[in-house]
Every structure is written in C-alpha cells, then in structure tokens.
Symmetry: C2
Subunit: 229 residues, 2 copies
DNA sequence: CTCATTTATCGAACATGTTTGATAATATAA
DNA sequence: TTATATTATCAAACATGTTCGATAAATGAG
C-alpha cells in the first residue's frame, strides 16, 4: 500500500480479486456478496484479501477509479471534437452514465460513502478527495476548452458546479428504474440545454448585477474544493 | 410492530432503549455505539432490543420521526404568523436545522439509507416513504398558505422541489463544520431570497413561455412522489 | 547460491449486527 | 382466580467484515 512498485504476483492477485468481486457484486449485489465468497472464488483465505484492499468498500472504490480512467480516456476524444459547452457537457455526462451502467447495482455505495463526512473517501469531505480531484480536472478542461465566453466570476465557478451537477445526475440515475436508464439520458439532454441557456443569459450585460450577486453567493458556500493552490 | 396497541411495559422499555441509544449515539457516534452497549445500559439482552426495533438503523430513524414531530409542531406557529413565502420557508428550514443540531453527528445515517434505492426507508425510493410523505405535507401547507400568487404549473411543483431544497440544505449542514453550523444558516438566509426572487420572476407574464418549458421539464422528471391520489 | 528481509497467505479469532428457540413474564378470558 | 394465549426476555448461536500471529513464499544483497 505504499507508493513503491508492486510485485507482478501481487498485481495478478489483486486483479483476480477485482475480477471475481465484480462478478459477485453485479450478480448478487454489494451486501449479499460476502468477503468469504470472494475469497473462495479467488482461491485464497478471507484474511488475505486485506493485504490487497483495506476494506470491502475500497474494492468498490477501485471500480469507480477504473470507470473514471475509462471515462477520462473517452473524454479526450469528445473534448477534441465538440466545441460548444452544451455539447461537451452532454457527451461527457452521457458517457459517464454509459460506462457506469454495468455497475449500476452497486453504485449506491458511492453515495453511502459520500454521506459520511468522517469518511476520507467521501467526495464531499472538506479534505482533499482523490476521486473528486481527478474528476474536477475533467470538468476544468470541459469548461476551459469550450467556445463559451464566460464572465470571470462565472468562469472560476462553473467547473465545480458542473461537477456537482454530474453528481446530481448520478444520484438520479441510481434511483432510475426505467429500462436502460432511459429517463436519465433524457434528463441529461434536457438539463444541459438549461445549463447552456443559463450560461448564455449570464453573459447579457443587463443582468450582470444579478449575476454578480449570484456568483458571490455560490463562491461563499462552495467548499474550497480543489481550488488549485 | 403492528398497528395494535402496545402494552405500557413495552412502551417504557422502548423509551428506555431510545434514551440510552441517543446518549450513546451522540457520545460515541453511530458506528461506535454497539447494540451490546445499548443493551447493557438498558439492562437487557442484545436480542431483546429486536423485539422493539427491527434494526439498528430503525432506532436512528425513530429519532428523525421524533424530530419531524417536533418540527411539525413548531411549524404550526410559524405558518400561522408568517405569510410571505420567503419568510415561511426561511423559518421552517431554520427550525429544522435547529431541532436537528443535537443529532448532527448521527444524521449522515439518514443519507446512508437514502442512498440505497432498495431500502424502503429511503426518501428517494419510488415507493411511498413515510418519512418523505409526512415531510411533504408540511411543504404543501407552506406553499398553500402563503401569500404568493403562483401560476398553476408552478403551484403543483413547488412543494416537492422545496422539499428537495431542504434535503440539499441538510446535506450541506451534515458536512458543515463551522461553529454552530453558522454557514448553513447563512446559506438558508441567502437561498430563500433566491427562491423568492425566482418565484416572483416566474409570475411575470413576459417569461411565461420560458417558465412553462421549465415546469414541464420538472414535471417530467420529478418522481411521482406523493402526488395525492 | 545463501541467507536475511520483506511480502503473501493461512487459519483462527474477534467484533458486531442479527436470528433463534426456549423460558419467563404478562395480559386476557372464563 | 385460574387457565390460556400473547408478549418480553434471555442466552446462545450465526453471519460477516476485519484483525492477528504464525508460516510459507518470494525477493534481494553478499
């Protein structure tokens, strides 16, 4: 669990655990899939798993990290092709849900972790969270590389709040029982338009005073997440 | 656990469990306070507790129900005195946080159960949730009894979304480490003004088309929570 | 290669939420 | 009051996430 390199054997074992855990998780759900079952299928003692993962929740966390990696990868292409903020946001968030879809049954664990302020894995916790930090980078690029001309006060806030927007979408998705999460994708399509509209409105000089008030409010209450340096 | 009347002895025992559980929960936190400790302090066997509460989480849930009861009580006075939507909302939500403040350390459990769509206690679950339903009644009264003249399409949505707004405030509060939750109260003060502004704007005839689009969107994606009959 | 050190694994034990079957207490009906 | 039915309690057992101490395997320095 150090920054030092891991032995090949260790890597293989770790991967084996992840493989069987994923199968069991999606098949039986997070709670019903026991560490002992995972151990059996991975041909090892239950205790041995803990030499590779600190807790059961950390195994799930690893899947999110993997999804994020895949997502970041896929977004490179998206952000290269799309220039309009609305389209960039739409494709990025849709891709996130697409990639997460196979993990839907266990995704609520993400919010279970998030709900506990004490938990260092929580993306809402004050202290830096690796998950959130990595994800924020993506949204910074999404905003920075778009064609949108943003007022300065909006510019420094937008990425953080789009991240929050994505969390909201994910929360909706987790509770969405429509076939193939149809409603979630529809919600994305509708709300990104809304975001675009709001951003456009925010650039109208006439309403600058109101906008300033609004961004000042947002700035006061956004936790100082990942404010770079 | 039925609707039938409970014996006096049962009521006393149940109350005893709640008393010691609350003490232990706030003192040591939800996870650190064990059922065995609760049992010891309540002078009974661990198993006996389960004749009064189905699970440990249900004990916590009971505290929320108690808070809600207190809150509903306190809101009668508030809703009688305040007439303006902004003030009604402000006082109601502030009161909620005030009453919940002693329970802050264990309140994250609320969102922990909320995060699992399978959990019938989750206020986000599709099926009717007692917690949510009771809470929604309050917000219906809040809206209905206010002086605000609401367009019909806004009227049928507002209560539900104000409930959601309150959930957001609570989520913020749980992660708010400022002394006496100062920031949360400030957030309430600021955002209720925003709500008021939005409601006022929504009544301007000129923007009715935009508003209609917006409420149509909200209506499509709000789960059909507690739509009365 | 050899030996020392680090790492991986095992099996047992532990902590804790929960279940169970037996027993005692209590309420109810006659 | 007494017999019966219901309810409350108990101790033990169970399920499962996790820890621990010992042992085996792998690694690396000489």
């Amino acid at each position: 669990m150090s920054k030092s390199r891991m032995t090949p054997k260790s890597i293989r074992t770790r991967q084996k655990i992840l493989d069987v855990a994923l199968l069991l998780f999606v098949e039986k759900g997070y709670d019903k899939a026991t560490m002992r079952q995972i151990a059996v299928q991975a041909n090892m003692a239950p205790g041995s798993i803990y030499h590779h993962f600190p807790t059961k929740e950390h195994i799930v966390q690893t899947f999110y990290d993997m999804i994020h990696e895949e997502h970041a990868q896929a977004c490179v292409g998206i952000l290269r092709n799309e220039i309009k903020l609305e389209h960039r946001l739409r494709e990025v968030v849709r891709k996130k849900i697409e990639l997460a879809e196979p993990f839907k049954k266990i995704s609520y664990v993400l919010f279970r972790v998030a709900s506990n302020p004490q938990n260092p894995l929580s993306p809402f916790s004050a202290q830096s969270s690796p998950t959130r930090d990595r994800s924020l980078v993506l949204f910074r690029q999404l905003v920075a590389g778009s064609s949108a001309k943003l007022p300065a006060d909006v510019d420094i806030l937008l990425a953080d709040y789009l991240w929050l927007y994505q969390m909201g979408i994910i929360l909706y998705w987790i509770h969405d029982t429509s076939e193939n999460s149809r409603k979630t994708f529809r919600l994305i399509d509708r709300t990104v338009k809304l975001v675009q509209t709001l951003v456009e409105i925010s650039s109208i000089p006439l309403i600058a005073p109101f906008r300033k008030k609004f961004t000042k409010l947002m700035l006061e209450f956004v936790p100082d997440w990942g404010r770079p340096a």
